[in-house]
């Protein structure tokens, strides 16, 4: 599997006489790693696997995005449908009655983000109608048929999370153990090379072996999205795409370091592979989920049903209090309540809804913080932040409804003190503003700022495992 050891020693000694100290000689180690990975088909396999999966995933997600966009545009068009409603009076000599019939229109939904074709993140949450008036009512999600509800979304984040980490381990795991098994490690260390340089250039070699196919596959994916689907065409989009690649690459480097570290603590390739697979499962599958579970445990958020129940209770209480305060004005329950009582009711509802939304926001923020404790968790949050489909974007999505509702409540409050015509006009304007309110894409700067924690976490992990590998390798018994 490895390059011919004699060749390497020869070239090493040849170079030694030719050049003085330092880089050129050690660069050979990296070059040898890369050449070995090309010859033993690891790199071609990685290239093919990553290209295929990234292309497949992005095609499926682009179709998914288009489907969601269609759904949104139909909904947008239907916002202009007239509301039909009419009465027919059966006016007869000895009495009369009415026939009433009517139909309204669906509340609006928000436009999906184009970047969700690459990283879907939390963007699937917006596929629901949200009606905003004095209250915010979230409709059920419209993504049936929900066969996909049972499994992860297969977006680019998913592919990077699984494949880049696994290939990183594949390239880095046997760097020490195999050379030790074959005996080349001794030969190499007999040369005037510092162990620090050796491990540095081995890590460089493995990283390049990993990142070269990843870069090609990723570039292919972006080109496909641009050419076939017309997405990611602006300059800002390309910067975002590049940043996403950067984060994925950093994640890959973390796993290269983990692989070298495992290689430096084990003596046989077989043990190294088993340990790596278990570590991989723990880091990629268990740890992110466990940290998110912890965050959910620490910030219990009420469910939407509970919110509705509390709203209902509050409504009953306030209406009853209103009745008791002036029993003469409201003889029957179906008669309208006074404006002041209604406003009080809206105020209580506003607080309850805001508490619900705030608890969801807290849960997301804590989950994001905790997830940074694992590279895979940090990657998931970091990628969705960079794509503008993450926690920040979701928060501003909820903020849009909140501010819409507040504007309306404000208008309703002011209407009480204004002449009827002016007041009604004010309320009507507020309603129109809400109806046409669509969220804007998150600016790049905001996305970058919100992804600071995940990025820092990945840098820290890369450094920790790099140093740990270096520290272990200094004591590594090469015999």
């Amino acid at each position: 599997m490895t390059d011919d050891p004699n060749n390497l020693s020869k070239s090493l000694s040849a170079r030694q006489s030719a050049t003085a100290q330092g880089a050129p000689r050690t660069w050979l180690i990296a070059k040898k790693e890369i050449m070995a990975n090309i010859r033993n088909f690891k790199m071609p396999v990685a290239l093919v696997a990553m290209t295929l999966l990234l292309l497949l995933s992005t095609r499926l997600l682009a179709l998914d995005y288009r489907h969601r966009l269609d759904n949104w545009s139909v909904n947008q068009a239907s916002q202009r449908d007239p509301v039909i409603g009419s009465n027919v009076k059966y006016d007869l000599s000895d009495g009369d009655f009415f026939h009433r019939a009517g139909i309204g229109r669906n509340p609006p939904i928000q436009r999906p983000q184009p970047f969700s074709a690459l990283i879907k993140g939390m963007d699937g949450e917006v596929d629901r109608t949200v009606s905003v008036s004095q209250r915010i009512v979230f409709g059920a999600r419209q993504d049936e048929p929900a066969t996909s509800a049972l499994f992860d979304t297969p977006d680019t984040s998913f592919v990077i999370k699984l494949l880049v980490s696994l290939f990183a381990l594949m390239f880095s795991l046997d760097t020490m153990t195999r050379e030790k098994e074959v005996g080349t490690l001794r030969a190499m260390l007999a040369q005037p090379i510092r162990r620090r340089d050796l491990i540095l250039y081995k890590s460089l070699g493995a990283s390049i072996s990993l990142l070269a196919p990843f870069a090609i596959a990723y570039a292919g994916e972006i080109i496909y999205l641009r050419l076939a689907h017309g997405l990611l065409s602006s300059r800002e989009d390309l910067i975002r795409a590049a940043l996403i690649f950067g984060l994925g690459a950093l994640y890959g480097v973390v796993f290269v370091h983990i692989g070298i570290f495992i290689s430096a603590i084990t003596t046989r390739t077989k043990t190294a592979v088993t340990t790596a697979l278990l570590t991989w499962a723990a880091i990629v599958l268990v740890l992110p989920n466990a940290t998110v579970l912890m965050a959910k445990l620490l910030t219990p958020a009420p469910s939407y049903n509970q919110l509705n129940a509390r709203l209902y209770e509050a409504r009953q209480r306030i209406l009853q209090e209103g009745d008791e305060a002036n029993p003469a004005t409201r003889p029957a329950p179906e008669q309208p309540v006074s404006g002041r009582t209604l406003l009080r009711l809206f105020e209580v509802e506003r607080q309850l809804t805001d508490n619900y939304l705030a608890s969801k926001k807290d849960q997301n923020s804590l989950a994001k913080l905790f997830a940074a404790l694992s590279p895979a968790g940090a990657l998931t949050f970091g990628l969705s932040d960079l794509a503008g489909t993450g926690v920040g974007a979701h928060t501003s999505y909820l903020e849009l409804f909140r501010s819409g509702r507040d504007t309306l409540l404000d208008a309703l409050k002011r209407r009480l003190d204004l002449p009827p015509q002016t007041g009604d006009k004010l309320v009507q304007e507020a309603r129109e503003m809400i109806a046409t309110g669509q969220r804007r894409a998150e600016p790049l700067g905001v996305s970058l700022r919100s992804s600071v924690i995940p990025i820092a976490s990945l840098f820290a992990w890369a450094a920790i495992f790099g140093l740990a590998a270096h520290w272990r390798f200094k004591r590594y018994d090469v015999r």
């Binding site: 999966l53 497949l56 995933s57 095609r59 997600l61 998914d64 269609d70 759904n71 949104w72 449908d81 039909i84 009419s86 027919v88 059966y90 006016d91 007869l92 000895d94 009495g95 009369d96 019939a101 139909i103 939904i109 993140g121 939390m122 949450e125 629901r128 059920a140 999600r141 993504d143 049936e144 048929p145 929900a146 996909s148 509800a149 499994f151 998913f158 699984l162 696994l166 077989k270 592979v273 088993t274 697979l277 278990l278 499962a281 723990a282 268990v286 989920n289 466990a290 998110v292 912890m294 445990l297 469910s303 939407y304 049903n305 509970q306 509705n308 129940a309 209902y312 997301n364 979701h394």
Partner: protein, 455 residues
């Protein structure tokens, strides 16, 4: 000889650090996720009774809300329960059943819910692969296989002993995991989890299904172990197959299915329905207007006019039922086609088969949801609409006075949980896929090992 090999196999595995590490990780995760699921279930149960009380007060002859009964084994397997609506409103003037509202669950988009199905289906299958991939190939490499086979032992016995070793260990771990999970759920759910005989037996059958999955994976590991020459290659191959069948394909499959079998978007379906409804409402209004004018001209008494009005209204309701029902049915057919296709292309993944089995057994799968929705629609047609029409026909809106009582007396919606045999029958397809996989892989293993070159 069988026993000797088995004992040696068990001893070897028990002394390895892999098993210890895995058991520790599993224990931590089981404790954490069972605790969270138990608390979550408690909240769901509280929600449920709250919602029921509210709807009981609010239900009227014009509209009622039906809530999906809670699956008792929800804390063990969430399935699709959370991502699908569980409240439906029936209205007297509409024939479509639409979900009311939905919770915000943004984190679920990034991280799947960790329940027993994830622990068994993902983590424990990986452990099985790690235990099974080197059963034969390591012995060959170390030369012990030659030694074993030089004794008076059939090759088939060796294979059986090796396979039994892996499966026995996995059974012990499975029992440990399921018992620990159940205990934690029971303790922390505040008595809300009903561990009746029926539910316990469903849980036991789920564990048996899990065992089938382990047998599939172990047989796969052994079959690969026989067909390659180095433990490292065997491990890489096994890990790749595991990754594709457990992680990648189940995620891709549904999306592939939806790109082949397209379904019109939700809003487009709503638009078609709403167009039709508008058309029918306009037509009905026109006819009502005409009838009202005719009756007035004929100087008919109000009671007789009311009877004629009711008759007209009933006719129009029936027409709407038929015409809109056709549109609804068309979309349902598309969805069914897509789901059927997805199930077929996903079938070979043991993880998917396991989840489907759990969905049927625990009542949290897609099918259980569809069944409930069908029951709601039936209830609307057979119970609610006639009762609400009956209520209307007894009213005398031309008499001034107190508002008529619009409370409707309804037989509650009965959706008894299916018996275990019915649930098993629903899970027949995934279970038979698992069994077929076991048979094929065992055959491959046996035939391969009979011809195996032990040198």
């Amino acid at each position: 000889m069988f026993r000797t090999i088995l004992r040696r196999e068990l001893q070897e595995t028990l002394s390895s650090s892999t098993l210890l590490f895995a058991v520790v990780v599993l224990t931590i995760l089981v404790l954490l996720s069972a605790y969270i699921q138990a608390r979550y279930y408690r909240r769901v149960v509280e929600d449920y009774s709250l919602r029921q009380n509210i709807h009981q007060v609010e239900n009227s002859g014009r509209a009622i809300v039906l809530i999906r009964p809670l699956p008792p084994l929800l804390p063990f397997f969430n399935g699709a329960y959370d991502s699908l609506p569980d409240e439906f409103r029936l209205q007297s003037d509409s024939v479509i059943t639409n979900p009311l509202s939905g919770d915000l669950t943004p984190l679920d988009w990034l991280f799947p819910k960790v329940d027993l199905s994830f622990i068994i289906g993902v983590l424990m299958t990986l452990l099985t692969i790690l235990l099974a991939h080197d059963t034969i190939v390591v012995d060959r490499e170390q030369g012990t296989l030659k030694l074993i086979l030089s004794g008076p032992v059939q090759r088939r016995t060796v294979l059986a002993a090796k396979l039994t070793g892996v499966i026995l260990l996995m059974t012990i771990i499975l029992v440990y995991v399921v018992l620990l999970y159940t205990a934690v759920v029971k303790v922390f759910s505040g008595g809300t989890v009903d561990l009746s005989v029926a539910n316990l037996s469903a849980l036991a059958v789920s564990s048996l299904a899990a065992l089938l999955v382990f047998v599939v994976i172990a047989a796969l590991g052994v079959a690969i172990s026989i067909s390659v020459r180095s433990p490292l290659v065997s491990l890489s191959l096994c890990a790749t197959i595991w990754m594709v069948t457990v992680l990648i394909w189940p995620s891709l499959g549904p999306h592939i299915a939806s790109s082949f079998k397209t379904v019109s978007t939700w809003e487009a379906a709503q638009r078609d329905i709403s167009l039709k409804e508008r058309e029918l409402i306009q037509a009905e209004l026109a006819e009502q207007k005409k009838t009202a004018a005719d009756l007035k001209a004929q100087n008919v008494g109000v009671e007789s006019a009311w009877r004629q009005y009711l008759e007209l209204r009933r006719r129009w309701m029936e027409r709407r039922n038929v015409e809109i029902g056709r549109l609804v049915e068309e979309r349902k057919r598309q969805i069914r086609d897509q789901q059927f296709f997805a199930r077929r292309i996903l079938a070979f993944s043991p993880y998917v088969a396991f989840k489907e089995t759990l969905g049927s057994l625990c009542g949290t799968g897609l099918e259980s949801h569809d069944e409930f929705l069908a029951a709601v629609e039936r209830y609307g047609q057979q119970e609610f609409l006639p009762a609400s029409f009956d209520l209307l026909s007894r009213q005398k809106p031309w008499l001034n006075g107190a508002k008529p009582d619009d409370r409707v007396q309804l037989r509650p919606l009965q959706t008894p949980p299916p018996a275990l045999s019915e649930r098993l029958a629903a899970a027949a397809w995934p279970l038979s896929v698992l069994i077929a996989e076991i048979i094929i892989l065992l055959m491959v293993g046996i035939i391969g090992f009979e011809r195996y070159d032990v040198r």
